[in-house]
């Protein structure tokens, strides 16, 4: 949340942020309307933002709606997340040549790391990035592309005022407000009331400070700070979905054979949508290809999903044959084994997997049902 160091930028001066970012060599990416959804893409001006739009979300449902104001950030999260920039969906890893005598040469792919400014990062998303930091940077081996892109990236975060009905960040302690220990560079809150359309800006890193210092601004008043706080408090109030994050790990370990898994497997299409939209899901596969001569080869990495049969392919057959076992893998990874692996939940409560599930499977509901008819305590 903001403190006394924060400043206020009027709506008509907001374009100045784009100019400053451009002059510092940043490629600005952020929310924009495309194909009837709010997605993340390159932005060149304020008008590229979803001005006056909001979203209506439910399990298996996402629609854009007009707002009755001209807010720039008056919606929740859409199908994209920042992982598409930090952890690209497709990436060439190397090229290799083979000569006639059978000798082989590998040409490592240079890391391509544009300097991104992420405009409009939500609190849950900043947490998702911190979770991917643990996966890609804090293990024994760091991912080179993620590493370079992450170092260069500037996170401009926005406090949430309009959560969707699928959001449950409050349960996961990841939002809707940006807490002091969330890693972002700039925190901002959009205010649109009788006092006018304005933005409270607060630097949260040295990098962020140099930018905030250059914005045309005035000091915040008590009124601005109160309004910002009220916005987040109200957002928290409106959140209806819940998940009992405290006990969920043990609950799942005690219920790996719960009949509910069969029931959810009957509905699940194993389409992998939930893993594609999830901001923390990180799994990839590799594709090795050759050109027509057979002497030039490449390896590509692309996002993969534990919902596919091939994901667990072994010569004797996949180890997860049934959709039950694959849904169970996904959910127990998100909410339970992730804790053991990375010391954090793998779910930030952004609700994307609920909204973008074609049959509307809702993990909060699954956990609730299991909690009401738990099998017992873990056998270990």
């Amino acid at each position: 949340m903001h403190d006394a160091d924060s400043i206020v930028v009027e709506r008509q001066d907001f374009a100045g942020l784009f100019e400053i970012l451009r002059s510092l060599g940043y490629a600005v990416v952020g929310p924009t309307v495309k194909d009837q959804a709010i997605v993340y893409d390159q932005l060149s001006q304020v008008d590229d933002l979803p001005i006056g739009w909001t979203d209506e979300q439910e399990a298996g449902h996402y629609r854009l709606r007009r707002r009755n104001d001209a807010a720039l950030f008056g919606y929740a999260v859409g199908p994209h997340s920042w992982k598409k920039f930090l952890h690209p969906p497709r990436l060439r890893l190397f090229q290799a040549e083979r000569s006639e005598d059978g000798a082989m040469v590998f040409k490592q792919e240079p890391v391509e790391a544009p300097k991104y400014a992420f405009l409009g990062v939500r609190s849950c998303e900043a947490h998702a990035i911190a979770i991917q930091d643990r996966v890609f940077l804090e293990g024994a081996v760091a991912d080179p592309t993620y590493r370079e892109r992450r170092i260069g990236a500037l996170l401009i975060a926005v406090n949430c005022g309009f959560p969707s009905s699928t959001c449950f960040c409050h349960s996961m302690k990841t939002g809707p407000g940006i807490s002091q220990n969330t890693k972002v560079d700039i925190e901002l809150t959009e205010l649109l009331d009788d006092e006018g359309h304005r933005f409270v800006f607060q630097a949260r890193s040295q990098k962020g400070q140099t930018i905030v210092d250059r914005l045309p601004a005035r000091r915040t008043t008590r009124g601005d700070l109160d309004a910002a706080e009220a916005l987040v408090a109200e957002a928290t109030e409106t959140m209806t979905r819940e998940l009992n994050a405290e006990g969920v790990r043990d609950l799942l370990y005690a219920n790996l054979e719960h009949p509910r898994w069969d029931e959810v497997a009957d509905r699940c299409l194993t389409c992998a949508n939930c893993t594609m939209v999830c901001p923390t899901c990180f799994c990839t596969t590799v594709e090795d290809v050759t050109d027509i001569t057979g002497d030039h080869a490449e390896r590509w990495r692309r996002w993969d999903s534990c919902f596919t049969l091939d994901f667990s392919h072994m010569p004797g057959g996949s180890s997860r044959q049934t959709s039950k076992s694959r849904y169970r893998q996904w959910l127990t990874h998100k909410l339970a084994t992730w804790h053991d692996q990375f010391g954090t939940s793998g779910c930030v409560g952004c609700g994307r997997c609920i909204s973008w599930c074609p049959v509307g499977i809702d993990l909060t509901e699954e956990i609730q049902v299991m909690g009401q008819s738990t099998q017992g305590v873990p056998s270990s």
Partner: protein
């Protein structure tokens, strides 16, 4: 003050990409059984000695076809030469089987946790292998033979489908002749010429364990066989902390980043492939993991 961003990283200079293989030269390829062969490899670029510990594995790359995880089956005391004993089961293992001496292949690694040789010191060492599971245990045998005074009895129990499929059959006979070494072989299906044991390898455990409190067991083979092996070992008085298993799952990266090798809370490439039984007991007893 301000929070540090991205773990306070600084841009790196160009580092070798962990997903880009090194070129290795095929010194030889030899047929072990009808569907198992051994590659002997040497790195082509001069660099610091390639060392490995028994139980570790490499990712072997067949040009343009793909990569797969293969244990190191050779002598851990020899630097810069690695052996890999491979069963043809699919695309990559099939393609690698048709390389010739002098060819090149791509290699990444070594990766993974080794068999805990320090835990084996001063104890009886019991190895239980099913089929190709003998491959990652061969370096253990070589290490024990090279440092004989460090260990008590070495017993090798090996199971295979049929007599023709017995991996390292000649070596098993040679090893058996060494002092303090015993080896027993069993087959699932015998023909009339076979006068040895018939049945699953786990049936051999009963007659083998002499001093359960002072024995360590290393097991590698199909998952179902390993479950039975654990049961037999426990029946014979071994504790959960005296049993180590080498597990297998699909692997794409071997560096803990692709997610494929997850086994409950564990990444087999990073936390394994060798695990102490009590660490993975809970997961090993789940179906379709």
């Amino acid at each position: 003050m301000f929070m540090k961003i991205g773990s306070d990283l600084r841009p790196s200079s160009i580092q070798p990409d962990p997903m880009c293989p090194d070129v290795h030269h095929v010194m030889s390829i030899s047929q072990e059984t009808s569907d198992i062969y051994t590659l002997k490899l040497q790195p082509t670029e001069r660099r610091e000695a390639v060392r490995f510990a028994p139980g570790q594995f490499n990712m072997l790359y067949a040009f343009g076809v793909g990569e797969c995880a293969i244990s190191i089956s050779g002598d851990p005391t020899v630097n810069n030469v690695t052996e890999h004993t491979i069963r043809r089961v699919g695309l990559v293992t099939g393609t690698l089987g048709s390389v010739r001496a002098g060819d090149s292949i791509g290699v990444r690694g070594p990766f993974g946790t080794p068999w805990p040789m320090d835990q084996a010191r001063g104890r009886d060492v019991l190895l239980i292998a099913g089929g190709i599971g003998m491959a990652p245990l061969r370096p253990v045998i070589m290490d024990v033979l090279a440092n004989r005074e460090n260990y008590k009895e070495l017993t090798i129990l090996s199971g295979s489908r049929d007599p023709e499929g017995i991996l390292f059959a000649d070596e098993l006979l040679t090893w058996k002749k060494q002092p303090g070494v015993d080896s027993k072989v069993t087959v699932d299906h015998a023909d009339s010429r076979w006068n040895g044991n018939v049945g699953v390898v786990t049936t051999l455990v009963n007659r083998t364990v002499k001093d359960p409190k002072d024995t360590i067991a290393f097991v590698c083979g199909p998952e179902i066989m390993m479950r039975y092996a654990v049961t037999e070992l426990q029946k014979n008085g071994l504790g959960k902390d005296q049993i180590y298993l080498s597990l297998e799952r699909n692997m794409k990266c071997a560096i803990g980043l692709c997610g494929h090798c997850q086994f409950g809370s564990e990444f087999i490439c990073r936390d394994g492939p060798v695990f102490r039984y009590d660490r993975i007991e809970f997961w090993l007893n789940q179906r379709e993991l």
